[in-house]
């Protein structure tokens, strides 16, 4: 069932959510950086930017997640598990980011392997998404099967802006429905016409996305192009930082480290890692299968558009285009994969 809500009422709902749970939403700081940050009041919400500088990924898949603490005392060794995750709301992310959660969800629940830290946290997370009105030059979500400025994948509740400052609110999960039912007074029922309006919105929005890739064709080229001379030169501008991977809604690679604080306390922590880093694949003896910068560059694209597709039947990319914007040397993922030969 679809509902309508005004922009003012969205803020009211937001305030109601803030009162009950921890709410993360885009917030702009003194340096004009827009990040998902904990809101104290709905007025802090910055809904104008299309994309936040980083994704909301780190609210569920923490950049550094402590698995447990080890404590030694006179009673022996005790292992302290992390506290149960709290209920959170991610408010105002875009369909591409929401879909990113869907991609990672599958990964952290892959056949027998269930990552309980991620899954537990995800279970307590409500994702409220806003459809994109003005896609940017870096956007290419429509290249993907489910990709669209109004796509609901991964969202619990999708808000699509319509005319007259109204939003169409569609719940796709129980968590989404609960948001509406808890705050029903701010919503009104939507009509058929409004559903049609959404279609028009979709068409208009998609038209603004200039680039559409034929990913199936590219996929076919990738495997044979592994040893292609193409990689010799295409990686050259790349400085091998991790900006692209850390702002990506789907990159999930990590490293697990242990650290002793003193003689009595230590911890095990999982932190994001990046395949662009030299030490990502360096082994204890010093051997590094991807010591070469070309190999690391190739790996990133092979993983996203080839290996992952083999395993999960979808790309490890949602077309948000953040990596293009974040790249210090403006490397364009679209151009890189398009150019494969």
């Amino acid at each position: 069932m679809a509902y309508l809500i005004t922009k003012e009422n969205i803020k009211e709902v937001l305030n109601a959510l803030i009162a009950a749970k921890t709410v993360y939403a885009p917030k702009k700081d003194a340096e004009d950086t827009v990040l998902f940050e904990k809101l104290v009041n709905a007025s802090e919400w910055h809904g104008d930017s299309l994309l936040t500088h980083t994704t909301a990924k780190d609210k569920v898949y923490l950049q550094s997640e402590r698995f447990f603490k080890i404590k030694k005392d006179k009673n022996g060794v005790t292992i302290e598990d992390p506290a149960e995750p709290e209920e959170i709301v991610i408010f105002g992310c875009r369909p591409c980011d929401a879909r990113g959660f869907d991609v990672i969800n599958k990964l952290f629940n892959w056949s027998d392997f269930v990552d309980e830290y991620y899954t537990k946290r995800m279970a307590k997370t409500t994702i409220i998404t806003i459809s994109c009105e003005k896609p940017e030059s870096t956007c290419f979500c429509t290249s993907f099967a489910k990709g669209s400025p109004v796509n609901e994948t991964g969202s619990d509740l999708l808000l699509t802006p319509l005319k007259d400052g109204k939003y169409l609110a569609e719940a796709y999960t129980e968590k989404g429905e609960k948001v509406i039912s808890d705050n029903l007074k701010y919503f009104s029922e939507a009509a058929e016409t409004e559903a049609k309006e959404k279609e028009a919105f979709k068409t208009a929005s998609e038209a603004k996305i200039i680039k559409k890739l034929d990913l199936a064709a590219i996929k076919k080229l990738m495997e044979p192009a592994f040893e292609s001379a193409y990689w010799e030169t295409v990686h050259l501008p790349c400085v091998k930082c991790g900006a692209c991977t850390f702002v990506c809604p789907t990159c999930y690679c990590f490293d697990i480290t242990e650290k002793a604080f003193d003689n009595m306390n230590s911890e095990r922590v999982r932190s994001w890692d990046t395949c662009m880093s030299e030490i990502f694949t360096r082994m204890a003896g010093g051997v590094n299968p991807r010591s070469d910068t070309k190999k690391r560059f190739r790996q990133r694209f092979m993983h996203k558009f080839n290996y992952h597709v083999d395993n999960f039947k979808e790309e490890l990319c949602t077309g948000c285009g953040r990596c293009i914007k974040a790249c210090p040397v403006s490397i364009d993922v679209r151009k890189v994969i398009e150019g494969i030969k």
Binding site: D29, E31, D32, T33, L35, H53, T54, D58, Q63, S64, S137, T138, T233, L236, P237, V239, K240, C241, G242, A243, T245, F246, V247, D255, T257, K259, V269, S271, W272, D273, T274, S277, E278, I279, T293, I324, K325, A326, P328, V329, S330, I331, D332, R334, K335
Partner: protein, 279 residues
């Protein structure tokens, strides 16, 4: 100027004066450019130079393992090349510096002129092998007003300011990797024996990384702003690099990248050095 530039590089490559040439080409939209690497003299047509050419191509001197390079440099980038020569990372005779006159570059995120371009003394490049175009240097000297203003804050205020900044930091190391003088074969941040920096990401540890990086580039950093403009979360690293430049000047009367034979301030000493603060 683009035509001139393309011709010059074509000539250098044809005459084998350089094996590779590094310049700029258009990237994904009209506001973005990216580094271009040219081997084939016939391939120079994509080279351009405009106010969006923000990258400091001196960076690639240490990244490309090539013998002879031609590099397109804005006046400010030449300091980087000189610094890398001073640090024995490249031989002067092996790099052809193509200086391009520059009226300032724009930050692709804000479309505003970079702060460093405002009082630029090297709009017309100095010390290049070839110089293209003409520009008039600023008459005003480099201003440290913002650093001076920041220095006036109490240490508590400074601490709070940086804590907020490094809370944003995602430790992607873009700042380090675009830094032309951060070419260490194995950065301290990646070491585990000893573990100078834990992989655990939090504001405190992020700050540790930046403190050490800043210390390591002291007397070497040319304040080129590559790190500042590369940061995906807009941490004002310029406030730090500019401080380094100011300290080098004030404490040791030294300017990085000015002289390929200089001794950087921490690799030398003077018997009469000040020790007013030493008990």
């Amino acid at each position: 100027m683009d035509k001139e530039l393309q011709e010059l590089i074509k000539k250098l490559l044809t005459e084998k004066k350089a094996e590779w040439a590094i310049g700029y080409e258009k990237a994904y939209d009209e506001f973005s450019t990216r580094p271009a690497f040219i081997i084939d003299p016939a391939d120079t047509a994509r080279l351009i130079f405009n106010k969006y050419c923000i990258n400091n191509l001196g960076l690639y001197l240490t990244k490309l393992k090539k013998n002879k390079l031609a590099v397109v440099c804005k006046g400010c980038d030449i300091a980087t090349v000189f610094e890398l020569i001073r640090e024995k990372q490249f031989k002067r005779e092996n790099v052809a510096i193509i200086g391009v006159a520059c009226e300032g570059v724009l930050d692709k995120r804000t479309n505003k002129l970079l702060e460093k371009c405002e009082n630029c003394q090297v709009k017309q490049p100095k010390g290049a092998d070839f110089t293209l175009g003409n520009a008039k240097n600023s008459e005003k000297p480099k201003s440290y007003a913002d650093v001076v203003e920041f220095e006036k804050k109490s240490s508590k205020e400074k601490l709070e300011f940086w804590n907020r900044q490094f809370e944003k930091c995602i430790r992607c190391y873009a700042c380090r990797n675009v830094c032309p003088v951060c070419y260490c074969p194995d950065c301290f941040a990646l070491r585990s024996m000893p573990e100078y920096l834990s992989k655990h990401v939090d504001a405190d540890k992020n700050k540790l990384f930046h403190m050490i990086r800043m210390q390591h580039v002291f007397g070497r950093c040319t304040d080129c702003k590559a790190c500042d403009t590369a940061c995906p979360v807009n941490i004002p690293l310029s406030m730090l690099t500019k401080k380094l430049a100011k300290d080098a000047k004030e404490l040791f009367n030294y300017e990085s990248g000015a002289d390929t034979d200089a001794r950087p301030p921490l690799s030398t000493y003077d018997e009469g050095d000040s020790e007013s603060d030493i008990m």
